[in-house]
């Protein structure tokens, strides 16, 4: 799907930052951002464990993961 112009501007802005800033600087921003995604995911699965319905969903997700590996 075609993205609008503000999306490409954001991509270019980030690339420019990576090009010009010291690695430590942009890596710090990126690390916090990526960590947040993993924290969100961990928190989601912890929430699922707390209810019966959630545990059912977890079971389905695990079954699907195993299916893909086979």
């Amino acid at each position: 799907m075609e993205r609008d112009k503000s999306h490409m501007e954001a991509v270019e802005r980030w690339a420019e930052f990576v090009r010009t800033a010291p690695r430590n600087e942009w890596k710090k921003v990126m690390d916090v951002f990526i960590d947040a995604v993993y924290e969100k995911s961990d928190e989601f699965y912890k929430r699922l464990e707390q209810t019966e319905k959630g545990r059912e969903i977890l079971k389905r997700l695990n079954e699907d993961r195993l299916k893909i590996r086979v």
Binding site: D4, K5, W14, F33, K40, F44
Partner: protein, 196 residues
């Protein structure tokens, strides 16, 4: 605030804190929905997204000025312009605008756009909150997210998102509704863009 979502804001990760702070302002001024990648991530998908996508109802320039001013007071900044008339001009011409925290040019970003057609209007009318996300935010329905990802977006990450959401909401998904939305997408988004 719905009791199901109460949790200290201070212990939130950077993405959730950003979304909650932004939406707390939005809620006072405009009807909104969060769509796409952030919906999947909020349901446990382990992947990144460059921005959080928000669709808002079309509002007048005066109303938008109030919304924008309160975003500034709450520490947000629009990347496109500091002039509210210019920002509104982007929105009215179906472009999106991006807000970040003041003093930052980097993610997370909120990509904001106006509803653009009857698909978005229906998306807005059928918005939902999802307990499992732990977030007191308005999202587009699971059916809409699946339909967009399977019919329009179709990148591997989108198809994986759709599969993930289908597993989570297996017992609740309205398949007829998904098919209706897909028909609308074909008619209003794909034909218009000459994709079919």
């Amino acid at each position: 605030m719905d009791n199901r979502f109460i949790r200290g804001v201070g212990d939130r990760n950077i993405l959730d804190r950003f979304a909650l702070d932004f939406c707390a302002v939005a809620e006072k001024h405009v009807k909104y929905i969060i769509v796409s990648g952030f919906v999947a991530i909020s349901h446990g998908r382990r992947r990144t997204t460059e921005d959080i996508d928000m669709i808002i109802e079309k509002i007048s320039l005066d109303k938008f000025k109030d919304f924008h001013e309160e975003l500034l007071v709450n520490g947000f900044h629009c990347m496109q312009s500091t002039k509210v008339d210019d920002i509104y001009d982007y929105l009215i011409h179906k472009d999106s605008v991006r807000y970040v925290r003041q003093g930052s040019l980097m993610p997370p970003e909120m990509e904001v756009k106006f509803v653009k057609d009857e698909i978005d209007e229906l998306q807005m009318a059928t918005r939902k909150k999802f307990d499992f996300t732990g977030l007191d935010l308005w999202f587009s329905s699971i059916e809409f997210n699946i339909a967009f990802k399977e019919e329009l977006l179709k990148a591997p990450k989108d198809l994986e998102d759709a599969r993930h959401l289908r597993i989570i909401y297996k017992e609740e998904i309205d398949e007829n509704f998904i098919n209706e939305i897909k028909k609308m997408i074909k008619k209003l988004r794909l034909k218009k863009n000459g994709k079919r």
